[in-house]
């Protein structure tokens, strides 16, 4: 018996040794981009073009690997040893978490243009074909005859944007009257028949189960929903007012320094701002930053007044403490559901 276990231990040892990372200071030919859990096709397309352009520019071959998961999980994994050279997240707080742990520069927001967010999106609406309930803006979502579907803000970053967008809209409508804004969001939450844990689950509830009149999700997602399920089933409605959703990027300095990939990592994120990359980003219905690309794609993106988390809530940190912390405003407004 001892021989068997010894042999097994040897096999494990060999397996480990085979996959042990060789320590090398030379510039690696792969980098890992840890990103969020939706819209993977965007980065598949971006990486392909980056690889050819990087080769043309520097003469070096590089492969960009992709890791996809919720960005809180990604940040946690990086701290536990996932060797991501860059992060492209959809939640500022998760980049900040990495900065607090010393993996990302404290001033990461100033390292790249536009607050280190190469593109942006906003919570938008998907309605049944022909928009039978005539849903136009956020105040339509609190009508008695309208049922709304979005995921649980407790578990979904996507839904937190929806929650904050509705709250910011109410604050603006009622001139900053918090009591009225609370009542508005409480009514909105009461109009949601099912809370799924994530954006994909909410889409399934809306499309496959036929529940609700409006699905609220990122504008970038609404196009994917329409493409998958067809324009005979759904229409897209952009509300007149919404909330700016940034997609923050950062070099994970600690990993890049260890692997010697600083130059590629920085080059990759800078390239996301190039016209070519911005065109691909816009093709996936994310709103580009490049003025020329924005102009060329103006027909695709209806005009919308964008509120910001900074202006409406005093930043993500504060919004998180006031609204999403245990016992916070969300918990209070959820009561009675």
């Amino acid at each position: 018996m001892a021989a068997i276990t010894r042999r097994a231990a040897l096999a494990v040892g060999i397996a480990f040794a085979a996959f042990a990372a060789p320590a090398s200071a030379a510039e690696p030919d792969t980098i890992l981009n840890a990103t969020y859990d939706i819209g993977r096709e965007l980065y598949a397309d971006l990486n392909k073009v980056f690889v050819t352009e990087w080769k043309a520019k520097t003469g070096k071959d590089v492969t960009v690997n992709q890791s996809h998961a919720g960005t809180s999980k990604q940040a946690r994994s990086i701290v536990e040893g996932l060797d991501a050279d860059v992060v492209t997240f959809n939640q500022e707080l998760d980049v900040q978490f990495l900065a607090d742990k010393g993996f990302v520069a404290a001033d990461w927001k100033t390292k790249f243009p536009n607050g280190a967010s190469p593109y942006y999106s906003l919570p938008s609406f998907v309605v049944r074909a022909g928009n039978p309930k005539n849903v136009k803006n956020w105040d339509d979502l609190v009508r008695d005859d309208v049922k709304v579907v979005f995921p649980n803000p407790k578990t979904s970053g996507n839904a937190r944007y929806t929650y904050l967008a509705a709250y910011a809209f109410a604050l603006k409508t009622y001139d900053g009257d918090e009591a009225k804004a609370d009542a508005f969001v409480k009514k909105l939450l009461a109009n949601v028949p099912v809370f799924d844990t994530g954006g994909r689950g909410a889409t399934t509830t809306f499309i496959e189960r036929g529940i609700g009149d409006v699905l609220v999700t990122f504008e970038a997602e609404t196009a994917a929903v329409k493409k998958e399920y067809g324009s005979d089933k759904v229409d897209l409605v952009t509300p007149a007012v919404s909330l700016l959703a940034d997609f923050p990027v950062a070099v994970v300095d600690k990993v890049a320094a260890k692997r010697g990939s600083e130059a590629i990592a920085k080059g990759y994120l800078e390239w996301l701002y190039s016209p070519k990359a911005q065109e691909i980003i816009a093709a996936f219905n994310n709103r580009p930053r490049d003025p020329k690309v924005l102009e060329a794609t103006a027909a695709q993106f209806p005009k919308v007044e964008l509120l910001t988390v900074d202006a409406a809530f005093g930043g993500w940190k504060k919004a998180n403490e006031v609204h999403f912390a245990s016992g916070g405003k969300l918990d209070q407004l959820f009561v009675g559901r």
Partner: protein, 277 residues
Amino acid sequence: MSAARRPRIGDGPLFRAGLLAAVLLVTALVIGGPLVVIFVEALKLGWGAYFANLTTPDTRHAIWLTVATALIAVPINVAFGIAAAWAIAKFEFRGKGLLTALVELPFSISPIVAGVAYLFVYGAQGWFGPTLDALGIKVMFAYPAIVLASLFVTAPFVAREILPLMQAQGSSEEEAALSLGASGWRTLWSVTLPNIRWALLYGAVLTNARVMGEFGAVSVVSGSIRGVTNTLPLQIELLYQDYNAAGAFAAATVLAGIALLTILAKLIVERFSSRDA
């Protein structure tokens, strides 16, 4: 009224038919329906699209990675299962109850908890993380982590299958072999293993099916790098989240196929084992 005249459950023909219909209905709704849906959805766009979906580099790699994981995890857990069952069934020692309970622990722990626990032991912030890092050995978010998580989740399968058999058979045959001068190895190969071969094979088949299908524990420790550390179940989730339902279902047919083969293997093994008995 005497107890003997009271009708037993299932005696009435109407009751029996109703019970049978209920079981069939539940089976159809809970198992049959989803299974059919997997194949219907996968083939919705035709065979060409089906094979195109199956042969995308990322999905192909996921299939390969899943097979590679099983190739390491199944033999290790077969060896472990035999060792554990042998120790428990053939010997008397202190802490035997504790060992039995430990072997079965993975059955009662949620796989996600197992994954997180591994992270706290082998992760960069965990017990062994700094040492492993200093040695340049990458365990978490790489192939070894996937194998480790799979090993944990499937540890009890083989032992659970062969233990009752070994206990029922007792150790008299082994004692006879030893008293006739056979070595420990000879006893294992010529006496113990032949007695338990069908249960052992069934345990291995179950282990394989679970290794290939494991999602929760692997999801925590794999890092979900597509084309690198995405196993088949993770790849299916990735495709589904991406609104690529056809691709997700195509990949799912591979797992469903493995499940069907497992059932087939089980039937064959059961036939052989009852013939032997």
